[in-house]
């Protein structure tokens, strides 16, 4: 486990956010240290995906209060592409089809935008080919899919694998996985999870948003947080996941929010 002697990678403080005038997040507090994996669970409509999207900067999600510090800087002031270049990656629950743009062309542009931002030389087609070959193995994604238009005609499992493949190529510092397990059968889940596990490093942090405890059998988090009605109502270790599996969320929905921020340092 990483020591938290330096400042945390991500600090979410009293985050309130609305979508279309409805307040979804009502004061989220969460601290993520470098190299830690946090699971965020919660019932439908609790705000899990909203949290993921707010962190990635999706337009239409209005932050009404609170702040988010990433590497000590104001994350919410950054455009989505700047967040990505700074190392934030969102694996979408519903990856978007982009007809007419091949995966490899898309990745080349994304990766080189990231590399330029980090002061690294751009990769040419040959370098990229080598890199994508290597990373494609990680999630057992067919190289044929890499050449096809982004997500177009992909099965649900292929789309999710493609997300993790992109994550492997882009090498983020903070990966947010939004219900990456939804719609996956157990074999596909194993492949995706082993891809994610292979990307666990002491430098990389992850927030794994999920509705089901099942995923956490494969991606074992360091911390688990339960989001109910836009607030984190309970934090703990992986034992909490088992308790949730047994008891559901109802018993937590009635509990008041804890008074102090919880997270890696708690």
């Amino acid at each position: 486990m990483t020591e938290h002697s330096s400042s945390p990678l991500l600090q979410i403080e009293n985050l309130h956010a609305s979508v279309g005038g409805n307040e979804i997040l009502r004061g989220v507090n969460l601290t993520v240290d470098a190299g830690t994996v946090h699971a965020v669970m919660g019932p439908n409509g609790s705000g899990k995906s909203t949290l993921a999207h707010v962190l990635a900067g999706r337009p239409g999600y209005e932050v009404t209060a609170g702040r988010v510090l990433y590497k000590g800087r104001d994350l919410l002031a950054m455009a989505p592409e700047i967040r990505a270049r700074e190392g934030v990656f969102l694996a979408f629950q519903y990856p978007v089809e982009v007809p007419g743009v091949s995966n490899v062309y898309f990745l080349k542009n994304a990766l080189n935008a990231v590399r330029r931002h980090r002061g690294l030389p751009e990769l040419d087609a040959m370098d990229l080919l080598a890199l994508t070959k290597e990373k494609a193995k990680l999630v057992q994604i067919d190289e044929e899919l890499v050449r096809r238009p982004v997500n177009e005609g992909f099965s649900g499992g292929e789309k999710k694998r493609n997300e993790i493949f992109q994550m492997a190529v882009l090498d983020p510092t903070l990966a947010i996985l939004d219900e990456t397990d939804s719609g996956l059968d157990i074999d596909a889940l194993r492949i995706v999870a082993s891809g994610v596990n292979a990307l666990r490093t002491p430098q990389r942090s992850m927030i794994v948003v999920t509705h089901y405890q099942r995923l956490l059998n494969y991606i074992v988090p360091d911390y688990l947080h339960v989001l109910v009605d836009g607030q984190i109502v309970r934090s703990g270790g992986k034992d909490l996941a088992l308790e949730l599996e047994e008891r559901g969320y109802a018993w937590l929905e009635k509990e008041p929010a804890p008074p102090a921020p919880v997270g890696a340092g708690a």
């Binding site: 999706r58 978007v96 982009v98 007419g100 238009p149």
Partner: protein
């Protein structure tokens, strides 16, 4: 009775009188045709918004300008504003400056066996009998005033004849309009004849600068079992006006493809009409129009399934930015006896700004009962979800927009033939999408 618009324009009548005087040597059929076309043009006048096929395209700006033909020598030495694509071993180019054949813009004469590529002025002078079965017989000058105007006054353009069973390399027609002085008008008139079993590729490119009006007519006859790939690239100046009618008669079991890209001008209108005059014909029309500023880009297509067992495929895409406007009107007419017709038409439009506008009117008129016809039309904006997806991977907003716009166009551009046209359209599109990632 002259229309009010034209009665003020005495120069026009003078131009016709001048042409008649200079060209007294024309055979009677041609003289008569010009007389009738000119009378018809005066009768119709410029179209107004009351005319259904010009409802969304107001040509009043064209009618207001006192257009003058360019009397000067088209070879007058002047640095060319465009790169000239010369013919090479595999191809030939005929170039026209303000509507007249220009040696400087042309490659060496074609020396393909069985193929004539000539300035039509030469054919009018030396072999008008070659023209008689076709000239003014494919294009609807009785209906379209611009076509009538051209038919009355056209003096030059390309004559292409591919004789029975012959196959040509690519034939490039370059039309350069320069309106750096007074507003100039040109009436290019092209005739492309493929005899039975012939094969050809013809590319028309329109470029220019200044205030110009290009009023072109291309008549095409594709003989039995012949193959023609026809392409048009129009990228004149933002002040240019461009009107062209392309009239195709397709004979039994022939194949015709059209690849058309329009990049602007003040008004750029293309009418393309295909008549299936023989059974088993096949036509494919692919088009892209890309507007910015206050350009108006108008495409009208008519595919006349007059005979059975013919197939037509149309894909047109429009990209409109700024205050530009697009018009697409596509008619598929299936006549009573045209059983087993298979026709598909699609028009998709992408609006990149709030002030851009497009009128899309697909129209099927079916009088036969055993046919397969489909059409569709969409108007949309860039997909916000896709835009965010790209940005969430580090691609900047402008680049993401350019990438998605490029992707929108790419499937129709990929269909363009020949490859040189595809590449040129991709280059032109790239300059319109400055943020496009590499």
């Amino acid at each position: 009775m002259p229309s009010p618009v034209l009665s003020a324009d005495t120069d026009l009548a003078a131009a016709f009188a001048d042409l008649r005087r200079r060209t007294g040597g024309y055979p009677a059929w041609l003289g008569g045709l010009r007389e009738r076309a000119f009378a018809r043009f005066q009768e119709l006048g410029f179209p107004t918004s009351a005319d259904e096929s010009w409802k969304h395209t107001n040509v009043a700006p064209i009618a207001r300008i006192p257009w003058e033909p360019v009397p000067s020598d088209p070879d007058a030495a002047r640095p060319l504003p465009v790169s000239v694509r010369r013919g090479d071993a595999a191809g030939v180019q005929l170039g026209f400056s303000n509507g007249r054949w220009s040696r400087a813009l042309s490659s060496a004469p074609a020396d393909f066996a069985g193929i004539d590529v000539l300035p039509i002025a030469d054919v009018l002078r030396d072999h008008p009998e070659w023209l008689e079965p076709h000239f003014g017989r494919h294009a609807a000058w009785e209906k379209n005033p611009f076509t009538a105007w051209n038919t009355a006054l056209a003096e030059d353009g390309a004559f292409i004849r591919v004789s029975r069973g012959a196959a040509s390399g690519p034939i490039h027609l370059l039309f350069l309009s320069e309106g750096t002085g007074a507003p100039t008008v040109a009436h290019p008139r092209n005739l492309i004849l493929l005899e039975s079993g012939a094969q050809a590729t013809v590319v028309e490119t329109y470029v220019g600068e200044g205030t110009t009006l290009t009023n072109a007519v291309t008549e095409i006859s594709v003989g039995d079992g012949a193959f023609l790939d026809h392409a048009k690239i129009q990228r004149e100046s933002p002040d240019a006006f461009h009107v062209q009618s392309i009239a195709v008669t397709s004979q039994r079991s022939s194949q015709f493809t059209s690849s058309s890209a329009s990049f602007g001008g003040s008004i750029a209108r293309t009418d393309i009409g295909v008549l299936f005059a023989g059974e088993g014909g096949d036509c494919t029309l692919n088009g892209l129009f890309v507007g910015e500023g206050s350009a108006l880009l108008d495409t009208h297509t008519t595919v006349d399934h007059a005979t059975p067992h013919c197939t037509s495929r149309q894909v047109y895409k429009g990209i409109l930015d700024g205050r530009s406007r697009g018009v697409f009107h596509g008619t598929v007419l299936v006549r009573k006896d045209a059983q087993k017709t298979d026709a598909i038409q699609s028009n998709k439009n992408l609006l990149l700004s709030r002030d851009a506008l497009v009128h899309s009117t697909p129209a099927l008129e079916i009088f036969a009962d055993d046919v397969k016809c489909k059409h569709g039309s969409t108007i949309g904006q860039l997909d916000a979800a896709a835009l965010f997806y790209l940005r969430s991977r580090g691609i900047g907003e402008q680049e993401a927009r350019a990438l998605l716009t490029w992707a929108f166009a790419s499937d129709v551009v990929a269909r363009f033939k020949p490859q040189i046209v595809r590449e040129e359209v991709e280059r032109a599109l790239s300059t319109r999408l400055p943020g496009r990632p590499r």
